[in-house]
Symmetry: C2
Subunit: 490 residues, 2 copies
């Protein structure tokens, strides 16, 4: 784990990354003026030609607010904040059972939540775009779990899947694989965990193999080690080889390689840039509990867990790994050549992973990085207003912003940072079962924003499965109004 040194922090401060500025008593942007007409002008019921879905993994309202305050300041705004429509997404999943109805599980993992928007249907923890039946591989268990990316491909649209995680991780696997266990990422993994679902057993194979079979045009992220696994136990042909045979003849492995890919005419693109997850933009800064701090007298809050003078070191990613913005930009460049339009999913994966780890800088940096990638897409959308952009999260997460003078009890980890306002912000992580253990997901409704044709459909309180319909393009209304829609109440 790379730790920021006092010197590196001070160098950053000297470079002007942290400016001590105050805020005014009133900062209203356009005090007292109505903007009803401006919102009305953003509503369009046309069918979008292109759709870009951004998923901030674990990016609840708390994570968004932390990133905004840290990187943009109290009066600053993220790109997410620019989107005209905003709703909340309810993301419960199912508990295992005999069906046909299932008890809800209010706090799920990234596999069933990815399934929800990918297929319009819910499933159980760990499962990807496959039904919740407790019997695995029963006939028809994938019935009706067709994904928006499969639908778009079959409609002749170009398709792309981008993530900072292993590309075989749950969120990018949602639209690209059907399997009972998210752990079955490569052939070796599947032989161990899903033996009845391997290709040898007559199944669809591991997530990596299924992704090669899907043939989506641009696939970018981490996870080389999964694709380097042999198709057959003890064999030498890897998933990389298999994918090449399936048309993925462009396989960039560095940022420079990716920059040199200029067209899909030379083949589909499978660009995996790290063996596991990609490196975070900001260096880690580990939140620690009061108990841990007291038990570690050598603990230096300046560099180890934050103090009101600590900033994040923002230069952690090696130059040979592309940023999420670079991957997003390249994907749009390649996919937008298609006359029928394109569908692209972009995941900021390590917001979740660093939240689990109580790594406050890692989490904030990944949120900002996804927001920067959104900025790339928004620039494209302004020039191509037939593009729908949706931004959401799969589930909420642990991190909370507490009063900068407050010390949470006992084993809750916390760290304090200095924001661009020059003011202290304290972040707390309290859901782990013990010091150093992984913190957990939380169940609060998560934000969903949108701009472009049919963007108004994410408005209000929606179910995560409703996003599926919007991704596919909606049919005309049946004429009922906001109030008379049928499903409110039980």
């Amino acid at each position: 784990m790379v730790r920021p040194t006092t010197r590196s922090v001070l160098a950053l401060c000297a470079a002007g990354a942290v400016a001590a500025t105050g805020v005014a008593v009133a900062t209203n942007y356009d005090y007292g003026r109505d903007r009803s007409d401006a919102l009305r002008a953003e509503i369009s019921s046309r069918t979008p030609k292109n759709v870009i879905l951004f998923v901030g993994d674990g990016m609840g309202d708390s994570e968004v607010t932390l990133a905004r305050y840290y990187a943009k300041g109290a009066a600053g705004r993220l790109n997410m904040d620019r989107l005209p429509f905003r709703g909340s997404s309810i993301h419960y999943v199912l508990s295992p059972g005999p069906g046909p109805d299932y008890a809800p599980n209010y706090v799920g993992d990234s596999a069933p939540t990815a399934t929800a928007w990918s297929t319009g249907k819910r499933t159980v923890d760990g499962r990807l775009s496959q039904g919740p039946s407790s019997a695995l591989n029963v006939p028809g268990s994938n019935d009706g779990y067709r994904t928006f990316m499969e639908i778009a491909r079959d409609r002749g649209k170009a398709t792309g899947n981008v993530s900072t995680a292993e590309i075989t991780d749950a969120t990018p696997a949602g639209p690209s694989a059907h399997i009972s266990q998210r752990a079955c990422q490569g052939p070796n993994d599947a032989r161990k965990t899903c033996p009845s679902e391997t290709k040898e057993s007559g199944g669809l194979g591991s997530i990596a193999e299924q992704q090669a079979d899907q043939g989506f045009d641009v696939v970018l992220g981490g996870g080389r080690a999964r694709y380097a696994q042999p198709l057959l136990a003890g064999g030498t042909t890897t998933v990389f080889d298999y994918a090449r045979a399936k048309g993925y003849t462009q396989q960039p492995a560095t940022a420079d390689d990716l920059a040199n890919v200029t067209s899909l005419r030379n083949g589909k693109v499978l660009g995996l840039f790290t063996n596991s997850n990609m490196t975070t933009e900001y260096a880690p800064l580990q939140a620690r509990s009061k108990t841990w701090q007291d038990a570690n007298p050598g603990f230096d809050p300046q560099k180890d867990a934050g103090s009101p003078e600590t900033s994040c070191v923002q230069t952690n990613r090696p130059a040979n790994e592309p940023s999420l913005s670079m991957m997003t930009s390249k994907a749009i460049q390649l996919l937008s050549r298609n006359r029928n339009g394109f569908v692209l999913q972009v995941e900021g994966a390590s917001i979740d992973k660093r939240d689990h780890a109580a790594d406050v800088c890692g989490q904030i940096g990944e949120t900002v990085a996804m927001d920067d990638a959104l900025g790339v897409a928004l620039a494209y959308q302004r020039r191509n207003p037939d593009t729908l952009i949706i931004v959401t999260a799969d589930h909420a997460h642990t991190s909370q912003m507490i009063n900068a003078g407050q010390v949470p009890a006992s084993l809750a980890a916390f760290a304090t940072l200095k924001t661009v306002d020059g003011a202290p912000i304290r972040v707390m992580y309290g859901t782990a079962t013990e010091e150093g253990a992984s913190h957990g997901h939380t169940g609060a409704q998560v934000p969903v924003w949108a701009i472009g044709p049919q963007a108004a459909n994410i408005q209000g309180t929606i179910d995560q499965t409703d996003i599926f319909g919007v991704l596919n393009g909606l049919r005309p209304a049946r004429g009922h109004g906001w109030w008379t829609r049928p499903a409110y109440g039980k």
Copy 2:
């Protein structure tokens, strides 16, 4: 504290309050249909005649989701969810300083946050609708901190202020008082804490006295003890007497008294129904830490801290206290007779107070109670579409929904309840400094919903001070669109 007994819980279950039902794999309300036109039809740039502001104190997205799942189920919806427009409100306040700019304090209390929407300006913790200068009572310290309710009154609108807290508590005091310390609720309190701001000292007096001077037409809530304090030290004339002389000739003290108030022709209405805060709708259910549970072998999770079979006892409020719905209904009934329209603030106060106390049932019941009161207002709004309703929170709070099988470390309190779906939900409180201490506010952006004329202005990411402008009625747009508004970025 009233504790639910096993018998009372079982009686409730038998009465059908908890029905074990499952959820379907897909519950989309109107699968695949566009509702752009329905949203467009909700946009109106007319100036609202009537404005009703609901404030759920401490009601962040986590608190909303908990109440929805518990009381309505995974596929159920609250009245809040029916509102067509939804934004997020950023609610930082100011740290003390010399000015003119101030360092932001990202996690404030209810006084400066109430000041933000009441006056359109920020201030420091503890202060109400008064400037942040570190010198108290400097000339002009209230300049520019005119409240929306004062503005409405002076425009000839009827005005109302309703809360389940003491009516002199910070949130109802926001639009009705200007004072340096929220603790100065009655004359005795002010003599102790704000001696330079009493009427004897030439100041505006305590919050209760200022409320009598303001002359808002309908004032309903708790806090009799503050109004029973003597105007002068050792005197016998109380604030009740003073208010009567100021025109508050109707002073109901019970739900029956309130029902018998039928018109403002007989005088303004000051209805205070409890000495302190009003009683919560649901009986308390105290979340407890694993450490506490282990140290208390007599601990019965069934009745003391929740288990997967525990439900909330929903019959805690005595019949002589009106519910928030009853107070809201009566306020609307009385105020709506005014030809110039009315402005009404309604607070669900004890969402926050029970969140501080890790009382999971108390918190949920108060959220549902405020949502029920919103239902009363929505019914009025449907018949009177020139009414703008805004629903928001002042700040976020501690409670988090975690996986029902997870035991958070050490001193974090948790409790598990059975929802109307028949499924377990686990709620955790982890920000207190020690077992049993008060949990703290959190800084996540909070929801804001609206319906009615100019409701579209709460859309997207807004500053809490922006709500002030919407409450007053906005002037026509200056013609720029959503994208070109000036204040994004720093």
